[in-house]
Symmetry: C2
Subunit: 347 residues, 2 copies
Amino acid sequence: MKTYRVAIAGATGAVGTEFLSLLASREFPLESLRLLASERSVGRSLVFRGRAYPVDLLEPDAFEGIDIAFFSAGGTRTKEFAPDAVRAGALVVDNSSAYRMDPNVPLVIPEVNPEDIAKHRGIIANPNCSTIILLMALAPIRALAPVRRVVVSTYQAASGAGAQAMQELLDQTNDVLKDRPITPNVFPYPIAFNLFSHNTKIDETGYNEEERKMINETRKILHEPNLRLSATCIRVPVLRAHSESVNIEFEAGQRPSISAIREALAKFPGVEVVDNREENFFPMPIDASGRDEVLVGRIREDLSNEDAIELFLSGDQILKGAALNGIQIAEKWMQMSRTQEGLSTRE
Amino acid sequence: MKTYRVAIAGATGAVGTEFLSLLASREFPLESLRLLASERSVGRSLVFRGRAYPVDLLEPDAFEGIDIAFFSAGGTRTKEFAPDAVRAGALVVDNSSAYRMDPNVPLVIPEVNPEDIAKHRGIIANPNCSTIILLMALAPIRALAPVRRVVVSTYQAASGAGAQAMQELLDQTNDVLKDRPITPNVFPYPIAFNLFSHNTKIDETGYNEEERKMINETRKILHEPNLRLSATCIRVPVLRAHSESVNIEFEAGQRPSISAIREALAKFPGVEVVDNREENFFPMPIDASGRDEVLVGRIREDLSNEDAIELFLSGDQILKGAALNGIQIAEKWMQMSRTQEGLSTRE
């Protein structure tokens, strides 16, 4: 079996360490592994399959001899170093927003638009977490009937803002319980027992960057530049799984039956239907945490519009929302490359 | 000034104690005060304006000589004892769902449908918390232009399930932080660092009781029996303010401008517009907690539908969502009675 020389840029972050643990648990065919991070983390080491790997400096010549570089290093450093990785001949799978809307960079969810992988020129972008989790439900539903409009309200976990944000949620909650004063640090507002509008810049239309990402990235992934989607993105005091309340409106008279939608979701790889009305048991972030699957439930006709449905979903922000989707992009690319080679051999 | 003999039924609960504190802070014109609760609480006393009041048994003859009885005693006990209070000549303001959909009982938000107070036959019902908070924003907007459809996703605090539920959120969070096992008690699922679909019975359409309340009560309060509204009600780990993400669609071509909507909201009593795009400062439950006003922000055109807008709001579940609205109903009734008497005198 072909094996690959892999680097992780940003190896010590929340997503970086998840890349590492997925390479182990999914038995990724590794020839070698290189861990890269900023100066701050150099000198540390991380354990992978029982062996300590040193964390080296993320620098221009760190990618020599690398086949696949998983980036989770923030937009700025990605823009700085991803071109070096591409020049060194690596496939870059980037978790930042740096290249997502670049027309030369495919934006891929392997279950949704695997064909876009073949168009890469060295970089494949991993979509934003909320977008991935939404599309895991929207894509199989949209395959049944044309969608006219989507309205989403999110319940986003602290993990989307990184490992320090998760720690802030825990520490701040502890302080509140002990009646100690709190000083928000990673987040601009208290997150303990609170929630707030996603703290990214608001544009002239009143939408924030997170909401714009959801709109623009969904359009790009689905190759539907005029798709009508609105989102309200809210941060909630949950650790690592995002939830979304989703209203999907179909073209007039074309709404599929609820049972057809439930069946399409149940068959879609990476989705688990959790929709038990009798037991009042539906998707919850603590159940989605640590799970590869996006949990989808509350699937019902919209009582306010006969052409629409409502549903609610939860998905692990660090797994399918980030690291898992990145690893799956690489796996799909490897599979497509093998098929390509298989085809070439036969020619 | 006319004064009133007041009873509180269910005086020791989360809403009951808030009734008590509002009677003090709003300088309600009291002649006397009687505190009533179930056997469990009899013998306790509660302090009101520096004086200890005994808690008496909620029983059929407890309402003799009472002018106004505030009920927050749960549906079953309200059905049992409210008729006694009415027979004794009291006006019952009931916070439970027992009489809300009774065609002989007005369902009132004083800022929205004060005129319905005059139709009472002894009982006036206080709407469900999520409904009140939604309508404080929807009513002034609907006064500007005909609304075609409303889609709501809620972020509901623990307080909606009572004082014990708030305590469970605090205790359970403390246990999670200390890595101790947790056993949900008041809520069916863990609430610490989690969220879940509102745990009321799901009907054959897939909507739960909380969502049905929001639909049915909104229609009754607005006297619009066919209003199109859909809701997804979610419980979040927040203590006492509910938030809601609201999409409002107007009849084609009739959407008011965002500035007209913002102005109508700012002028509406009981609403505070918190909508600072530059500072990314919007309604948050910790800011709404303890406040009489419902905070409304993120007011913007819906990018997916030119006839629609999006907004986000937070309101104190125990205050405007329950006790404050009840007290305001009584205050408005008192004011209308005085006007009535004034008119009679002039006749």
